[in-house]
């Protein structure tokens, strides 16, 4: 940008120079972006209309791969399990994180940092570590959780090998693993509420519940909806935990959408049919994101 004494010609040269520099600065990102984002996305849509294997070309088959999803029992299982998992994790995860954040926010200084660290540490760990720890905790023979079942007088069950227990167990492990992230966002939101509002409420002798309902909840609403949708989007994409805990178990009963993409493409060598599932997931996630953006804008407008 030129200074106040620039003449017209200088301005033009400056602009051209600016553009040139901008191109150089943007180029590394743009090159990677086109290569690993745009190109694969276009390819994904392309091969979903073919009978291509994982690697190599196929013939155009129209919307066949999509039409077949309708009567495909395994796709149904995958869609159902994904929805079930979302149901078990998103709302419960948000509520748990909110309650914990309210508790943690009462602590001050170092005590708060220490307690927050205990809740947050699991989130920082790789999924493989979470898997090995919980596989050990839930171990049928020697797992520490089995003592709880014994104590409750419930017969021991091989939790991750039992169909009915599998998804609820995944939900518990996932909430344990990721709650730290949501707690962190809630704490940021709670910190942004001015202390004077609470002081005024205390002078009015408002009860704890009234303060929460009239002050905390409405002011925290934008964060709550953010936490809720971030979780919704990330849980739709569940794969790692389900794959790891299904090793040596029953992957077909525990099928989720990303797992189905993986199985069709990498285990059955059907790139085209896998891509149709991937496109379905892609559209689902984008639709949820757009919806969330619109809702956020609407609620933003109201405020």
């Amino acid at each position: 940008m030129g200074g106040p004494f620039d003449l017209g010609g200088d301005m033009l040269i400056n602009r051209r120079k600016d553009t040139l520099i901008a191109v150089v600065l943007v180029a590394p990102f743009l090159a990677i972006y086109l290569l690993v984002f745009i190109w694969p996305t276009m390819q994904m849509f392309g091969i979903s209309f073919t009978d291509a294997p994982l690697i190599g070309d196929g013939n155009f088959v129209g919307v066949d791969n999509y039409a077949r999803l309708d009567g495909d029992p395994r796709f149904r299982t995958a869609a159902w399990n994904t929805a079930y998992f979302v149901l078990l994790t998103v709302l419960p995860g948000t509520v748990v994180a909110l309650l914990i954040a309210l508790g943690v926010s009462r602590l001050k200084g170092r005590a708060q940092a220490a307690v927050l660290a205990l809740f947050f540490l699991p989130y920082i760990l790789p999924v493989s570590v979470v898997y090995l720890i919980w596989d050990w905790v839930l171990n049928f023979q020697f797992g520490i959780s089995m003592h709880i079942l014994d104590w409750l007088g419930v017969a021991r069950v091989p939790i991750t090998k039992t169909r009915d227990w599998f998804m609820p167990a995944m939900a518990v492990v996932t909430i344990w693993w990721t709650a730290g992230f949501s707690i962190l966002l809630f704490l940021a939101g709670l910190r942004a509420i001015p202390a004077e509002i609470y002081e005024a409420a205390a002078l009015d002798n408002a009860s704890r519940w009234t303060v929460f309902r009239k002050i905390t909840w409405p002011l925290l609403y934008p964060i709550t909806s953010l936490v809720f949708t971030i979780q919704l989007i990330s849980q739709l994409k569940i794969f790692d935990q389900v794959y790891l805990f299904s090793q040596g178990g029953r992957p077909n009963d525990n099928m989720v959408l990303v797992y189905y993409v993986f199985q069709r493409a990498f285990q059955q060598d059907q790139g085209g049919r896998a891509a149709a599932v991937a496109v379905t997931l892609f559209i689902l996630v984008v639709a949820v994101s757009v919806l969330q953006f619109q809702l956020l804008r609407l609620s933003g407008g109201r405020r």
């Binding site: 990102f29 990677i32 690993v36 920082i124 940021a188 953010l226 892609f282």
Partner: protein, 281 residues
């Protein structure tokens, strides 16, 4: 006015909630403790039918086994190279792009900004098939570059950089332009030093994200010596029998670098993660 009685009641419930929070925090972290402590017990102690919160015989034999008899050393190297590589490339390219978006006017700037915002929504899990095809065509399966390539994009880092560069007062820029400094000089001598804090915070979390990645490293590597540690510890088992304590020792080794990164740079990590969720620090 607040009566003494109601104040006491409030204090009691307040204290109860605080106590409950602390107890819950300890329960929450207990599986981590249990995993670590089990990895320090001899194999026969691990499978005892009662709960022992401390090992009778403290042993590091499982760690020695993991470090000497398995490929964990290799996997460590692979994970470090991949995580450092992705961090350096992602941070550098995002910083340059964020600077251009924030400080320069050029045709297509608006469009680029919207494209970056929109790519927030793209589920990379849906792209695994075509990432695999791409990396296979480039002949990069089972290589460090192949593990890195699809992980080099984190649009959110550009967004954070743009916000921070936007906040630098214009006076600094105008003064530098008066001194005839070029854009690269302005970036490296003015904007980067002023945003050193956010740069290290973003670098630490990019490292953690990459270290923790599972799906893509799992798909793109089939040779055991090229695996990252997060994949290796779950995919390669000892040939005979199950050794719980050994598995847990491997898990502790895999989690240690990121856990340490978090504990050492706690504030930076939480700052960057909050920023990456779209909340300004």
């Amino acid at each position: 006015m607040v009566s003494a009685q109601s104040l006491r009641r409030v204090n009691f419930w307040g204290g109860a909630i605080t106590a409950l929070t602390v107890v819950l925090a300890i329960i929450w972290a207990f599986p981590l403790y249990w995993g670590v402590i089990s990895s320090l017990k001899p194999e026969d102690e691990v499978v005892r039918p009662y709960i022992a919160l401390w090992p009778e015989t403290l042993t590091f034999q499982h760690y020695i086994h993991a470090l000497t008899a398995t490929q964990i050393g290799n996997w460590y190297i692979n994970s470090v190279v991949v995580a450092v590589g992705v961090t350096v490339i992602t941070i550098t390219s995002s910083m340059l792009c964020g600077y251009a978006l924030s400080q320069l006017s050029f045709p297509g700037r608006k469009l680029l900004w919207w494209v970056i915002l929109a790519s927030f929504m793209v589920p990379t899990q849906a792209l695994i098939i075509n990432h695999f095809v791409l990396v296979a065509q480039l002949n990069l399966l089972n290589t460090w570059a192949g593990i890195m390539l699809p992980q080099l994009i984190h649009p959110v880092i550009i967004i954070v950089y743009k916000q921070f560069f936007d906040q630098v007062p214009r006076d600094f820029r105008e003064a530098a332009v008066m001194d005839n400094a070029g854009e690269f000089r302005i970036l490296s001598k003015v904007y980067l030093p002023m945003n050193w804090g956010v740069t290290t915070a973003l670098a630490i979390v990019t490292f953690i994200w990459t270290w923790n990645a599972f799906l893509w490293p799992f798909l793109s590597v089939t040779r055991t010596e090229m695996m990252t540690i997060t994949v290796g510890i779950t995919q390669v088992n000892d040939a005979f029998g199950v050794y719980y304590a050994r598995e847990l020792a491997a898990a502790v080794l895999a989690g240690l670098p990121v856990a340490l990164a978090y504990l050492l740079f706690q504030r930076k990590v939480t700052e960057a993660i909050t920023l990456s969720a779209g909340i300004k620090g």
